[in-house]
Symmetry: C2
Subunit: 324 residues, 2 copies
Amino acid sequence: MSDVLIGVDLGGTNIKSAAVSRDGRVLGKDSRPTEAELGLEGVLKNIDASVRSVLEKAGIPFQDVIAAGVGAPGPMNWQTGVVFSPPNLPGWKDVPLADLLSQRWHVPCFVDNDANVACYGEFWLGAGREVDSMVLLTLGTGVGGGIVVMGQLLRGPDGTAGEIGHLCVSRGGRQCNCGAKGCLETYASVTGMVRTALEGIQQGENTILKEMCGGDYSGLTGKMISDAAAAGDEFALWVVQETGKWLGTAIGSLINLLNPEKVVLSGGMIAAGDLLFAPLRETALRQSFEVPGKRAMIVPAALDPDSGVIGAAGCALERLNKDS
Amino acid sequence: MSDVLIGVDLGGTNIKSAAVSRDGRVLGKDSRPTEAELGLEGVLKNIDASVRSVLEKAGIPFQDVIAAGVGAPGPMNWQTGVVFSPPNLPGWKDVPLADLLSQRWHVPCFVDNDANVACYGEFWLGAGREVDSMVLLTLGTGVGGGIVVMGQLLRGPDGTAGEIGHLCVSRGGRQCNCGAKGCLETYASVTGMVRTALEGIQQGENTILKEMCGGDYSGLTGKMISDAAAAGDEFALWVVQETGKWLGTAIGSLINLLNPEKVVLSGGMIAAGDLLFAPLRETALRQSFEVPGKRAMIVPAALDPDSGVIGAAGCALERLNKDS
């Protein structure tokens, strides 16, 4: 097996690696703790160990690797591969990550935004593999996103394109961590959904959520809300539907703006299934023009939770091809 | 002069034409009434007469024309050049406009959305000529738009991409003609600005607008509001600022989503200058991430009102190059 791509998904909690063939077969995977508290040198060692473990287990010599791609959090310069100062990687400041790994591995290394590589993964080998344009929304603590148009990942000059979580869906609405108000993330992330529930509970809504979190609402999770909704709790169902409507509102805007063929959703929240997707799709259709609204298929991710690590390998191949 | 491009901006009221050289020199222009009431055949004759007049005045023989582009209103299939049924061109239904003109002129003809060609015009020869990515917002009766990313006009599979006026900026907000709620257009078009003023007046705001429209608010125009604001009327100033804030909110979202180098505004409303641009820029910066927010220059259009007719010629050249 020659022509192997390495993908790395660098998170604050876990490092994931994968080896992927040029034609998109996943040859091996690994996941291990990032140990961010060890600082830059320690994390680099963990990345290296994770990648070498994947190759060894798959029986791939390092000389078969033609390029490596890393999906990294926080702001960066994707052209130079310098990662600025990711909030969940303490001690990192202007780290020339692509160069450091390239020196270590003697192959071209490329760094991209983590949500963007996840989008590219779905585009290359997942839910968007047969289309030319798609958007990805990752629903977690925040809302991440990525955009592919005209067959290409949209990075933008600063690599910040695709911040779908920071589309304003309600001018003057909820305060967002980013400093703006009314961002989608404040309503449609897991955190936003919990906030919607807590606001309702404060207004005296009746719900089994109280029992589920043992009377201590600080322990309320997105999963509890989904479970309560699935169990028929009317208030929890309303919260899930409301979250779906916020998402549908933003997706309607994305459809009008980008005319994508697919809208792909990932993250634990999508386990809620039709309870979330039905109001989401209905709202997206109502909030978009008829022709592009019908065009855009709204579907769950196909590779989740490996969209990122596979997409990092795919981005490396794409950038290697562009450079040559 | 060989290698001439023809551009046509087909509106419900006026037809504009231009002849543009391959390297972007405007060789001649014409504008005349569309006479939409004459129906398809009459409008085609007017388009033909307008184009022939431009060429004749500029002393260009028709055999020097290598391609023609038309910016047309309403939904269409840009790949086939079929215009469906533009609301302001009565009697038009599934008109194969590109083929009809191509048969008449014996040159390749291309049809695109009118706001998209205006965006391409600014990108090719106007405010966006030195950048790789920009968005255009046209502020008129409605809010139109266009997007260029990675050096290419974003059309989308249905040609409907770039509908910036139908970005939702307020979930559940004002009812839009498109059927959705809270679209930017309902707040930031001239019509939206007038509506904001009328709502305030109904609530008893004091303003010189009453005198300006002779006591009959049905005659209230955007220009009256801008003029009153420039003359120091506090309420009118608030209305203009509020319009700027709605625009800034949407532009902040566009910056987070697309990381564009330029945001270009056109239409009569931008004559309000800093009264509009100051709150608009401030809001856009607050509603976007710092790096892409500082990157995006928010500027007036450079070719307005000829962005469309020049862009139509530019799109023809772009598509001719792609086809060959």
